[in-house]
């Protein structure tokens, strides 16, 4: 192959321009280097399918123009935007509302934060040089990710959440992200969660936005789970049907820490949810699930990297994808077991149901093992609903559509039934049922 020099795409040139013009407006901060992050991004550019990690999700082709960072909305506009949002609406929680990527205090329960938990707006923390900011980017590999670096460069708002050691608040905190507007915009938020030793914390995260508008959210969640602490995270992607939604979750697990994260995707034209895990302490336990339901013209990418660097870690990763229409599902998973991480038990699975002939699923489940006493496995399956099962249900009098819905529900339900928080689990099941109902 001859040397190929990629010309900068209009979107890349636009991003450079936007960065130059908006850098003055950014809060002065020492903890993050936007400059460095942007230089990194500029060097890599928007990743195309020639970049292995983006083989199936060509951002260079998908992002044709750089959308300007969204301004903070007026309170009235924010109130109007939030009025109709549904994600986790029925679950009792302390809400932090972000409209177009900006924390709206008036619509947040800053005064009703559960005991043992503190919340500080990220901009304040950055201005004050908060010591906790050193916990940002808790996984080494995430620093080499262009999406994450782009988030750092344009970071506009976010929050710092601390859970005191031993605290076990029953009420979850709900990060409610809402998009609104008539013209294309981009957002970049970062939430940092520090779960103290022995604590247990529930975090809900929902993303919703207007239909028909090509907005580009880029959200990052950095989490540090202390020794014997548990972090339980439920995420809902109900972005608008033209959105290009990028998100990154990076988690460091200390000894005997527990992670539970489940992501339900039904929204966005193109979404890529990246999960980076660094198992730093012995005997940590991670449950990472994803449930994706796609209709027409969508692409949803779940990319996972689990880096086991301590002994006895247990990882259970299960991703379920249902594709109806001409959508594309992508799963890329990689388990790394370092030499020191003996007795690691890692299992990764990606299953896909294709309901029509037009859908496609790309699976890439990788293992990279350097320890000799491990039990690691991965599996991937793909196919249409089993005709025998459908026949069994239809023989009992169910119409074909109902039988298929039941099968889909049973299939995808496996990925969400592990959610510990009952309300959050019901909300995800509700989301699945709504998707099936809309399918007709």
């Amino acid at each position: 192959m001859a040397d190929v020099t990629n010309l900068r795409s209009p979107a890349e040139a636009g991003l450079s321009k936007l960065f130059e013009s908006s850098r003055k407006a950014f809060a002065s901060d020492q903890a993050i280097s936007r400059e460095e992050a942007f230089r990194f991004f500029e060097a890599t550019g928007l990743p195309s399918r020639r970049v292995e990690a983006f083989k199936y999700t060509d951002l260079r082709a998908a992002i044709t123009e750089a959308a300007p960072p969204a301004e903070a909305p007026s309170e009235d506009a924010a109130r109007a935007a939030v009025a109709g949002v549904k994600g986790f609406a029925e679950v009792e929680a302390a809400r932090l509302t972000f409209v177009n990527g900006h924390l709206v205090a008036a619509l947040s329960d800053l005064d009703r934060i559960p005991e043992g938990v503190t919340v500080a707006p990220l901009n304040e923390a950055l201005a004050q040089g908060d010591a906790r900011l050193k916990l940002l980017a808790p996984v080494e590999q995430v620093r080499e990710n262009p999406i994450y670096q782009l988030n750092t460069a344009f970071l506009a708002d976010g929050a710092l959440i601390s859970v005191a050691p031993g605290a076990k608040p029953r009420t979850p905190v709900h990060l409610r992200f809402v998009g609104t507007g008539a013209t294309a915009f981009s957002t970049a938020t970062r939430v940092l969660v520090e779960v103290g030793a022995g604590a247990e914390f529930f975090l809900l995260e929902s993303h919703e936005g207007p239909a028909g508008l090509t907005y580009q959210p880029n959200d990052a969640l950095d989490v540090h789970i202390g020794e014997e602490a548990a972090f339980r995270h439920t995420r809902l992607n109900r972005e608008g049907d033209a959105a290009i939604a990028l998100s990154t979750l990076s988690v460091r697990l200390d000894a005997r820490a527990q992670l539970e994260t489940v992501n339900l995707v039904t929204g966005a034209k193109l979404s890529r949810h990246q999960i980076y895990l660094h198992v730093a302490g012995a005997d940590a336990n991670a449950v990472v699930n994803g449930a994706t339901l796609l209709g027409h013209g969508q692409l949803a990418d779940s990319t996972l990297l689990a880096d086991h660097a301590a002994t006895g870690g247990v990882g259970r990763e299960m991703f379920k994808t249902v594709i109806d229409g001409d959508s594309t599902g992508v799963f890329q998973g990689k388990i790394i077991v370092r030499q020191v991480a003996q007795q690691t038990d890692g299992k990764m699975k990606s299953d896909c149901l294709l309901l029509t002939d037009d859908g496609q699923m790309m699976n890439k489940p990788e293992l990279e093992i350097f320890a000799d006493d491990v039990a690691c496995g991965h599996g991937a399956t793909c196919g249409a609903p089993d005709e025998d099962l459908l026949f069994y249900l239809m023989a009992r009098g169910l119409p074909r559509a109902t039988a298929e819905s039941l099968l889909v529900q049973a299939f995808i339900g496996e990925a969400v039934e592990t959610v510990t928080h009952e309300g959050a689990r019901d909300a995800l099941i509700g989301g699945i049922e709504a998707w099936l109902a809309a399918r007709g």
């Binding site: 489940p365 690691c376 991965h378």
Partner: protein, 489 residues
């Protein structure tokens, strides 16, 4: 659970220090000038008495190769090859033997030492003939002997060095050469297209079941040479052939390059079974020397109901970069890939397969077992894809690995791309210990733990060993002196 002692001992017994085929044959050789240029290509072509079109084909490949970059995506690290510091042609000086008696006795001795039968064993009257294998022996850049040719001709089977086939059956060669692995397929295949020197050509006519197994034995002997063989096998409608391939090289401190291309074409209802025992010199314990094995192998199930099956036992080479693949073009065609890759010392293996489902109701099966020991790295890399029109395609993939010691690595990089709802793909891979339940069951019946482990693991690798033809299964056993116990999954 780490590997059991028995496994460790057995793998050690195939340690690279035990390489038995590392001797060198001293013989007068004729070589091209060092390095690669149009002149060298003209020299090779002239040596082979090739027609003009073949030379043009080579020169075209060379021009394209000059614009290409060496691939870097594989999980292997090595000192880059200086392509101008290699002899691209080396052949024993004694010319074109008409019969076995005319072959340089040193070469005959070499093959004797390697245990390769170059003398045709005649069956005695009234006694059931032994199972026989026809051998094409390729020594550096030329084929030195091809056995049983007359008998094969009687059945209509063409089995000869490809250099001869180019002269004798130009239409057939021209029709199929480069039709499975195009000239510009990849860096190494393009290089091969420019400089390939010898290899085997097989044509099985319609409806013929090849009366014996065919085999090619590749030997690199000369210093500073590369071996670039090219094999082309065509199984016409309704025919069947089983083909075996073996390879060895002397022990040397410097690396030698082996960049082969193998193309298989199976027409309607035809079946090709291709087995390899790859035992190139792997280098010493410190990673000094050894063969760089950069090979492109691909089969095209062109006709309906055709079948191609790859079986490989990989124990040699310093670096292996090899992905025997199947293009399942014909409806109801079938592709299979069975592999055992054992890496030891400082070896690096990046191997796997591609199953590309294009036709309706095509099926494929991949069984891959990797064992890494020493400080080696063993990677399985594979692609299974179903095209939109590949209705009812099915694939089952199973790849398991075992690590012996904590200095090595085992990696799996599968790509599974489904563009069709009626395609059913299943993939599983493990790196794990033997099931406690199975072991308990065996121990209940009076076996010791070690015996139980050996029994279970034996069963575990049998899927692959069973696929080898009898003669090769024996050789594979001899080569690795184990049936790969210890690969637990």
């Amino acid at each position: 659970m780490p590997a059991v002692q028995e496994t460790i001992d057995r793998v050690r017994s195939i340690d690279i220090d035990q390489y038995k085929y590392g001797f060198e044959t001293v013989i007068e050789m004729e070589k091209s000038e060092k390095g690669l240029s149009e002149d060298v290509i003209r020299f090779i072509s002239a040596k082979k008495n090739e027609p003009e079109w073949m030379l043009e084909w080579r020169l075209d490949a060379y021009k394209r190769w000059l614009t290409m970059k060496e691939p870097e995506w594989a999980r292997v690290a090595y000192d880059k090859v200086d392509y101008n510091d290699i002899y691209y042609y080396a052949a024993p000086k004694r010319k074109g033997p008409e019969s076995l008696d005319e072959i340089d006795p040193e070469i005959l001795k070499t093959y004797e030492k390697l245990g390769i039968p170059l003398r045709e064993v005649e069956a005695l009257e009234g006694i059931a003939p032994e199972r026989r294998v026809a051998v094409d022996a390729v020594f550096d850049s030329v084929s030195v002997a091809t056995t049983f040719r007359k008998e094969l001709e009687k059945a209509g089977v063409i089995f000869m060095p490809i250099s001869e086939a180019i002269r004798e059956y130009p239409d057939l060669v021209r029709q199929y050469l480069g039709s499975v692995v195009p000239v510009t397929d990849n860096f190494f295949a393009t290089l091969n297209s420019a400089v390939f020197s010898d290899g085997s050509f097989v044509y099985i006519p319609p409806g013929v079941r090849c009366p014996m197994e065919l085999s090619t034995y590749f030997r690199i002997n000369e210093r500073d040479t590369g071996q670039f063989e090219r094999t082309l096998i065509i199984a016409d409608k309704g025919s069947y052939v089983s083909y075996l391939e073996g390879c060895t090289a002397p022990k040397r401190d410097d690396n030698q390059l082996h960049a082969a291309v193998v193309e298989l074409v199976a027409l309607e209802d035809a079946e090709i079974k291709y087995s390899t025992v790859q035992n190139w010199y792997p280098g010493d314990n410190e990673g000094k020397g050894g063969i760089y094995n950069f090979v492109t192998k691909r089969g095209d199930c062109r006709g309906a109901r055709s079948k191609i099956s790859w079986t490989q036992v990989e124990t040699g080479s310093a670096i292996t970069w090899k992905y025997p693949s199947c293009i399942l073009r014909g409806d109801d065609s079938r592709g299979e890939f069975y592999s055992i890759a054992v890496s030891n010392g400082m070896q690096q293996v990046d191997s796997g397969t591609k199953m590309i489902h294009l036709g309706k109701n095509t099926t494929s099966r991949i069984i891959s077992k990797g064992i890494s020991a020493g400080r080696s790295q063993n990677t399985y890399r594979g692609l299974v894809s179903a095209h939109k029109k590949a209705k009812g395609a099915r694939n089952f993939t199973n790849c398991d690995s075992l690590l012996i010691g904590d200095q090595c690595g085992a990696h799996t990089v599968p790509y599974i791309e489904s563009k069709n709802a009626s395609a059913v793909f299943e993939h599983e891979a493990t790196t794990s210990k033997i099931s406690e339940d199975q072991k308990f069951y065996c121990q209940q019946r009076g076996l010791s733990e070690e015996e139980a482990t050996a029994l279970i693991v034996n069963g575990f690798v049998r899927d692959v060993l069973q696929q080898l033809p009898m003669e090769f299964a024996v050789e594979a056993q001899k080569l690795i002196s184990i049936s790969l116990e210890g690969s637990v999954g």
